[in-house]
Amino acid sequence: MSVTRKEFLRAAGVSLVVLAGGKSLLKGANGKRWGMVIDVPKCLAKPDCTKCMDACNAAHNIPHFTDPRREVKWIWKAKFEDAFGETEYAADAFRDKLLPVLCNHCAQPACVRVCPTQATWKREDGIVMMDWHRCIGCRYCMAACPYGSRSFNWSDPRPAIPALNSDYPTRTRGVVEKCTFCEERLAKNQLPLCVEVCPQKALTFGDLNDPNSEIRRKLREQFTIQRKPELGTKPGIYYIV
């Protein structure tokens, strides 16, 4: 008995669908998506605290440039209306309040789409990662990011680093950098540094895909907002206001 052309094509089609379906199911079952919930009232209770930023800057060899056009920022404080957009009166309670902002590790990251060298990409665990070896400094990602999360090294950063930490590399002139969710610490089963040092415990880090995680519990209990969700980038940072 021989297989007809039609039968062969039908069998091939069915097995393709089965293969593709099986693979995506597997991925969904194992896939983590790291995210963060920031409790703004808790953070605002200590308005002068800069612990998260200081720890991050020191650990990641972030240069300190005072000229705002040259600043390099991973986690920093921004005015509420600058971070979330102007409203007429709705956000009056938070006007001019400073709250922590960092890379949103979006599910649909605009920076990744525009990078011509794939120096920045989306990891399977949701982190928008960078390969500084591969960055050519074109700054397309900076133009694409709607949150201003990326900074460019206009000059050699080393002289502007207060204390060199040899456990982490610096960057060079002509390279873009941003928060990596402390992937070097996650690899050792440690929390991101900002989460660990926060004296208010205002930052919660965890797996958004796990319904039993602490972060998902917080999201179930309290209403949160995201930065510029209308742009469709699906940010991974949620703010309790």
């Binding site: 060199l164 040899s166 610096t170 060079t172 992937e183």
Partner: protein, 137 residues
């Protein structure tokens, strides 16, 4: 063959100029011997056998870079079964080759190796200690 003398003189001068580096080096007494690297005292073996490391250390470092940064792999298992944490400063420089100037740089300078740019970003622990000491003075 009227210009025989001229041509011979020219050839002699030409050969003299071309071989200048060789006889100059002889005359000045500078030797071309390979530089003496300072080997680590706390370890006898590198990640790969010495011959392989000598020839392929750039390849190994590039592979490590790919694994660590792009593939999110933390450890490297050598062919002999030992496992190393993938880190240029953490493993290579901190655990064994603690003196980068006398190990890496001596050979690279002697061979006039262009680049590599590793240390433009990765921090030599000795340099870090010096910078911290200098800034806190």
């Amino acid at each position: 063959m009227r210009d025989k003398g001229l041509i011979t003189t020219g050839l002699v001068i030409f050969l003299g100029l071309v071989t200048f580096p060789f006889w100059y080096a002889k005359a000045s007494g500078e030797t071309a011997a390979a530089p003496r690297r300072v080997l680590p005292t706390n370890a006898k073996e590198c990640v790969l056998p010495v011959e392989q490391m000598r020839a392929q250390h750039p390849k190994l470092l590039m592979d490590w870079r790919q694994l660590r940064v792009r593939d999110d792999v933390q450890n490297y298992t050598a062919p002999d079964g030992r496992t190393y944490s993938i880190s240029l400063t953490g493993t290579c420089l901190k655990q064994c080759h603690t003196n980068k100037a006398e190990f890496c740089d001596r050979c690279h300078n002697y061979e006039a190796v262009q680049g590599p740019y590793c240390m433009d970003c990765h921090v030599d622990p000795r340099l870090a200690a010096r910078v911290v000491a200098w800034r806190t003075e």
